[in-house]
């Protein structure tokens, strides 16, 4: 068994603030990510078995948890909680109401397991936009995130995150040591769907050469177009300009056509 000293209570970083867009202030949506390589665990919450046989690199669906204080204990899978000390015990995790959180077990920069509670941005995006959240959850120094070879995030440190809003689409993304362009993860094609927060975790260990990406998506954050500009000629209008078109079409009012062309892009 891999011996781990989970320094959870000390390094538990919860900076949750309630999201204004959430309708229910009495509970939060909580997903759990296992980002510690090499150890399958059982997760117990408030003394109840919560996630048996939870494997590295897996993510739960979001669970609605009432706002309140939670004690989290993590055991090696199959261990008897009655006779075994937990590998990790985080007491008094305060879950606020109305937030969307991801509780992540991962390595800190030096390779010690820790827990982080990240707040996911679920605010509405403009139509056509996507959100990319990058979280450094790996035993590695500060990194840059490259898109198409150029840094779009610089100097990101464990356990921090950075959030970008972009046009929806695909990017060729890679992770490199801060200030360099030689990928330590990727490059990989990241599809960033419209109206979605794509949350990418860099996890694993640089030293152990098992760095990888874990991906969580939260969709349904889309906005809608503000209108439909679907006519630009004035041909079918009932207004005063229709007669000009008739003149124009018979060649009697070329000047009108010229005027119209100058202004056509506003429709």
């Amino acid at each position: 068994m891999r011996s781990i000293a989970w320094g959870a209570a000390a390094s538990l970083a919860l900076v949750a603030t309630a999201g204004p867009a959430m309708a229910d202030d009495h509970e939060s949506q909580v997903s759990v990510l296992h980002g510690v390589p090499g150890l399958t665990v059982d997760v117990w919450v408030n003394g109840e078995a919560f996630l048996p046989g939870f494997e590295p690199g897996t993510l739960t669906d979001p669970q609605a948890l009432p706002a309140g204080s939670y004690d989290i204990e993590v055991y090696e899978a199959g261990a008897d909680p009655e006779s075994t000390d937990p590998a990790i015990s985080a007491e008094g995790l305060e879950v606020p109401g109305g937030a969307n959180l991801t509780l992540a077990a991962h390595l800190d920069a030096d390779g010690a397991p820790m827990l982080s509670a990240f707040v996911n941005d679920v605010s509405t995006l403009d139509a056509g936009q996507t959100r990319l959240t990058v979280r450094h959850a790996a035993a590695a120094p500060a990194v840059d995130v490259l898109a198409g070879g150029s840094p779009v995030i610089e100097g990101l440190e464990n356990p921090d995150e950075q959030v970008l809003e972009l046009d929806a689409g695909s990017v060729e993304a890679a992770v490199a040591a801060a200030g360099t362009t030689e990928p330590v993860i990727g490059p990989a094609t990241l599809d960033l769907p419209e109206g979605t927060n794509t949350i990418v975790y860099a996890w694993g260990s640089l030293e152990d050469e098992n760095l990888d990406l874990a991906v969580q998506t939260i969709d349904g954050l889309h906005g809608e177009p503000e209108g439909v500009p679907s006519g630009e000629g004035g041909l079918v209008g009932s207004g005063a300009q229709t007669w000009m078109w008739i003149l124009a079409l018979t060649g009697a009012a070329g000047a009108v056509v010229a005027t119209r062309r100058l202004s056509q892009d506003a429709a």
């Binding site: 048996p52 046989g53 679907s230 004035g234 079918v236």
Partner: protein, 244 residues
């Protein structure tokens, strides 16, 4: 806390049932047809309103959990999945896209482009008036829910657009949307309305939930020279014809 207390909060989420189609607010057309509150449409497709995504994989996850002998069988299973990039992004499987719109009763036949949003926040419309655009971020024709939006110019500098024919579409007219895999989805017109652009209910029009419907949009009403724009949008709503 009881053993099941964690999931008591997974109470059935109440679906805010957004009525399909556009509201009557702002309607300006004297010759509108049908009622675009589409209550009839709502009734006919209501059974599609269940949101299986609300409790994803609970059944299969539970089976999986119970299959693990002795692993706290009474614990309600929480669905979990590999979070690797390959797994997550493979879920976005290639879906057929619409390539053609036909309304035979008014000789409307327009190839479709995939369109998005312009820099000014308005829906992108194909420059070519002979074509129409499918709002690619929203529902796809044939989807089980939401409003698939197809829009095109009523006219351009070159003349009338294909979508000008929408002005003459009647109730119950059949609408066909051809997909790139050869599938054809058939719809039936349940209403046509002329709505001032300022009043266009974009939230309903681009709604991604609620009953499945097809929303066709072009321009209409008086041409406003000062804005180089028509005052109104012409909106036609159609609902799926049950093909079973």
């Amino acid at each position: 806390m009881s053993r099941n207390g964690w999931f008591g909060v997974l109470a059935v989420s109440v679906l805010l049932f957004v009525v399909a189609g556009v509201s009557l607010v702002g309607a300006t057309g004297d010759d509108d047809i049908g009622s675009l509150d589409v209550s009839a449409a709502t009734a006919s497709v209501e059974q599609t309103e269940a949101e299986p995504g609300d409790v994803p994989d609970e059944g299969s996850a539970r089976e999986e959990s119970e299959a693990r002998a002795g692993a706290a069988p009474t614990v309600p299973a929480i669905a979990r999945r590999p979070a690797s990039l390959e797994t997550v992004q493979a879920e976005a499987a290639a879906q057929a896209v619409p390539v053609g719109l036909r309304v035979p009763s008014v000789d409307l036949d327009a190839p479709l482009d995939q369109v998005g949003v312009r820099d000014d926040g308005l829906m992108e419309i194909p420059d070519d008036g002979d074509r129409a655009g499918w709002y690619r971020y929203g529902p796809t024709p044939g989807d089980d829910e939401g409003s698939a939006v197809l829009a095109g110019h009523v006219d351009t500098q070159e003349g009338l657009g294909a979508m000008a024919a929408l002005m003459d579409v009647g109730m119950d007219a059949e609408v066909e949307v051809e997909m790139d895999d050869g599938t054809v989805h058939r719809y039936r017109v349940v209403g046509r309305q002329t709505i001032e652009k300022d009043e266009l209910p974009v939230t309903e029009l681009f709604d991604r939930s609620g009953p499945a419907r097809l929303t066709l949009v072009t321009c209409g009403g008086p041409w406003r020279y000062e804005a180089s724009s028509y005052r109104d949008n012409v909106v036609v709503v159609a609902v799926p014809i049950d093909e079973r």
